[in-house]
């Protein structure tokens, strides 16, 4: 009871503090009063302490299984492991709002602490925007869905997290996504501040570049991780269902990627100011759109969890964000006209612009597909589905075009690129790509999607390798360092460029993984009696037996399968089903042999209770691991691109010492 009142009060207080801090920041900036600005900055830190306190209170209630709180009763059970009790914080709506508000307050505090009294003109307004966002989330929690609401009488035990969520992945995936989502509010806030103050140079870009890249890193990690989790756990053998909420995480990612590229043009040529402001606005708006979709219940989705007025509140907030930011951009449009000059149509600027067109185009496609059922219902009155086959069919050619562009872009120079230049840079990779594709064709790869993906993929890998090799050789010749040292120093001195190339490499690997695993997937389903076999590809799967056993939280039924390859026993797999007391359908327990060249994936479909037969669904997913490997390479590339200065100098010194 104490926790409930205290928690609710703390949130209420936090709302007040955030509103005060916003007003103080705006007033202090307009009136030039440093004391008000300082007070606002202190208020930000105080707000962070308050929301942290609220977070601790809720976590305390979760860990001690205080079921007098409705949220605790709905999201944990007495028997859960502690880490899943902690994860119950983001298990459903109210808690996830608290986590979001906490991250928002944390990032606001970091911004204030890091920039302190610098950037005096923009910082207060950026602060105000960040605080405004935090205030919104606090508002929703204090007046609509209170995480500290009580339930009377307190039940003896909670309903618990959905058993699908009581896995380690639950500790990682939502946090990664939220870090990404909330991270993008920082560049957005500074963009708004730049618009408000009229300081429309590249200042706001420079201040927020690290934030943008970090947020992108987390969002990318969250999306890949989600796919990996889905694949290993959900039991349908796929990793992406174009579910509205999945799309809602993909759309901001696409625009953020466009933004990261397009910003490079503004940094060099001071062009595309309006475009970049639009892109960051769209990124943040899509983040809010995503939370709206998840929490409004207007589109059916596996991820959705909604409650009453929350949807309307988020829609209102989305409308506010869009009207406010787009209005500001329109207001400043005249002053934003850049120095629109370019040297040549064939230049890196052009490829970046094409990259933007494709990325925004893909985002538009995903958005259209996601809301088209709603649009159809509004206009035609009919209910239709827009699902995986549509999205795959439309985004595949666009994705391939983007892949091709990824190879061309980095090798075209900024400014002016001559055609001779181009020819020399592309010849080697193009030959390699064609040779590679021909080789694969000869080996039996006939599916168009896979071949095209390989062709473009090899081309990109070729251009990246060519770039690395050329630059390393030049360095070796001019400085006399060893090959390895030259390579390392190159990486560290041009972190952004080579980090970016590594990211592209990761994307290529992932796309090849996606193309091959979908084009060459093999699936077989068979009902087997003990000692019967089914064949799939080069494997034979024999059902040994079907057993059932009691686990602490559920009943597990599993089939023991012996897998043979070319006649010899290879391994044993145990796919099963988990029956939980308060769930009406069982959850699949997948078992698979994960290898980097292909996965053998098995699921127990249906079975006879007496163990006389079991239906097994088996799948071969070739090269699906490459998707996860590609994701890791992307993360590696980002880390290389943002290595801090000190570490760089240290490593460079060490490399030089090796040579000496």
């Amino acid at each position: 009871m104490m926790i409930s009142t205290l928690g609710h009060f703390v949130l209420f207080l936090g709302l007040g503090v955030s509103l005060y801090a916003t007003a103080a920041a705006v007033y202090g900036a307009r009136a030039g009063r440093e004391d008000w600005l300082a007070s606002s900055r202190n208020a930000v830190l105080a707000l962070f302490c308050l929301i942290t306190a609220a977070l601790f209170l809720l976590e305390y209630a979760l860990i001690t299984s205080d079921f007098s709180l409705r949220y605790v009763a709905n999201n944990s059970t007495r028997g859960s492991l502690t880490r899943y009790k902690i994860a119950g914080l983001w298990g459903s709506l109210e808690g996830s709002l608290l986590l979001w508000a906490w991250l928002q307050a944390l990032f606001s505090a970091l911004v204030v602490a890091h920039h302190g009294a610098r950037h005096r003109s923009v910082l207060p307004y950026a602060q105000a925007v960040l605080l405004g966002i935090t205030a919104f989330f606090l508002l929703v929690m204090t007046f609509a869905v209170n995480p500290f609401a009580t339930v009377v009488p307190a039940p003896p035990d909670g309903r618990g997290l959905n058993p699908l969520l009581e896995v380690t992945d639950m500790l990682v995936h939502p946090l990664l996504l939220y870090l990404g989502y909330v991270g993008f509010s920082v560049p957005f806030a500074f963009a708004m501040a730049a618009l408000i103050t009229g300081r429309l140079s590249e200042e706001w870009l420079k201040i927020t570049r690290r934030w943008t890249v970090a947020a992108w890193l987390f969002l990318t990690g969250g999306i890949f991780y989600g796919g990996w989790w889905s694949y290993r756990t959900l039991g349908w053998g796929g990793y992406w269902a174009w579910d509205p909420v999945e799309n809602a995480s993909f759309m901001p990612w696409l625009i953020a990627t466009a933004f990261i590229h397009s910003v490079m043009i503004q940094e060099r040529k001071r062009m595309l100011k309006v475009w970049n402001l639009l892109l960051i606005t769209l990124t943040f708006a899509l983040v809010i759109f995503g939370t709206f979709l998840t929490r409004s219940g207007i589109l059916a989705s596996v991820h959705a969890f909604s409650d009453g007025p929350v949807g309307a509140l988020f829609l209102g907030f989305l409308a506010l964000v869009l009207l406010f930011s787009l209005g500001l951009i329109a207001y400043r449009a005249d002053r934003l006209k850049g120095h629109g000059e370019m040297d040549s149509i064939v230049s890196r600027e052009s490829t970046f612009l094409l990259n933007n067109v494709l990325l925004v185009g893909i985002c538009f496609t995903v958005f259209l597909g996601t809301v088209f059922p709603l649009l159809t219902e509004a206009i035609r009155g009919a209910k239709i589905s827009v699902g995986t086959p549509y999205f795959n069919r439309v985004s595949a050619p666009l994705g391939l075009a983007l892949l091709l562009l990824m190879g061309i872009g980095p090798l075209i120079a900024w400014g002016r690129a001559s055609l001779n230049n181009l020819r020399r840079n592309f010849l080697a990779p193009a030959i390699v790509a064609a040779a590679g594709a021909a080789l694969l064709f000869a080996l039996g790869v006939r599916q168009a999607e896979a071949l095209l993906a390989f062709l473009c993929g090899f081309f990109v890998i070729g251009t990246i390798a060519f770039e690395f090799i050329m630059a390393t050789r030049t360095r070796v010749r001019t400085t006399g360092e060893s090959l390895l040292a030259a390579f390392a120093v190159l990486l560290l001195k041009s972190r952004r460029r080579y980090g970016g190339l590594i990211v592209h490499l990761g994307v290529v690997i992932a796309i090849i993984g996606i193309a091959v695993s979908s084009a060459y997937k093999v699936e077989r389903e068979a009902t087997l009696k003990p000692n019967e076999r089914m064949e799939i590809g080069p494997y034979a799967i024999e059902l040994k037996d079907l057993k059932a056993g009691e686990q602490p939280t559920h009943v597990l039924v599993w089939a023991t399968l012996t897998v043979f390859k070319d006649g010899k026993p290879l391994t044993e797999l145990r796919p099963g089903q988990r029956f939980y007391p308060n769930q009406q359908t069982p959850f699949a327990s997948v078992d698979a042999r994960y290898r980097w060249d292909e996965d053998l994936y098995t699921i127990l479909s249906t079975f006879e209770r007496d163990g006389s037969s079991a239906t097994i669904k088996a799948m071969i997913n070739p090269m699906i691991a490459w998707i996860w490997i590609g994701g890791c390479v992307i993360l590696l590339g980002v880390i290389v691109a943002v290595l801090p200065e000190r570490r760089l100098a240290l490593l460079a010194l060490r490399a030089k010492a090796q040579v000496a």
């Binding site: 000059e341 239709i384 249906t606």
Partner: protein, 168 residues
């Protein structure tokens, strides 16, 4: 100077080709699985293809081919029966649509209002690319043309050497 640069480039090109060719051969050796999987479409593949266009009615956003639920399994069996009866994919889709309505198709049929969702994406990108071309042309025309032309190959070499020394 130019000959030196181009020879260096050719050598690098050879290196790249060699390096990548080795990688490709390695790849090719480890992936014979492709050939086997490219069998001519047998019954199961045809069933799978048709089933992947039909929505599993008790799931969220999964197709009848992917869904692990019991009803999906029964619908797959029905699809298999219909395929064995010689029905075409369109006829099988119509079979389900006449019972469940348009909602059961995971991909909107390309007619009428639905054409919007199939055409707009490509139209949008076409318009975007066209717009980019027009804008870029305007920007290149407006840029002052008083600068002496620089030999691009020389500029490339300078760029690479600078990169090697100083970074950006």
């Amino acid at each position: 100077m130019n000959r030196h640069a181009s020879r260096a480039r050719n050598r690098a090109g050879v290196w790249t080709t060699g390096f990548l060719a080795t990688g490709l051969l390695g790849l090719a050796c480890l992936l014979p699985g492709f050939a086997r999987a490219a069998d001519p479409a047998d019954l199961e593949d045809r069933v799978r293809e048709i089933a992947s266009e039909i929505r599993c009615v008790v799931c969220q956003n999964l197709s009848v081919a992917d869904s692990p639920s019991d009803l999906a399994k029964e619908m797959r069996n029905l699809v298999r029966e219909l395929v064995q009866q010689g029905k075409s994919p369109k006829e099988i889709q119509d079979y389900f649509v006449s019972r469940y309505g348009e909602f059961v198709l995971l991909s909107p049929p390309k007619r009428g209002f639905n054409l919007l969702v199939w055409v707009l994406p490509f139209l949008a990108i076409g318009v975007g690319a066209g717009g980019v071309y027009l804008v870029v042309r305007r920007w290149t025309e407006s840029s002052a043309t008083g600068r002496p032309p620089v030999d691009p190959a020389y500029a490339e070499r300078v760029r690479r050497e600078l990169e090697g020394r100083e970074g950006r």
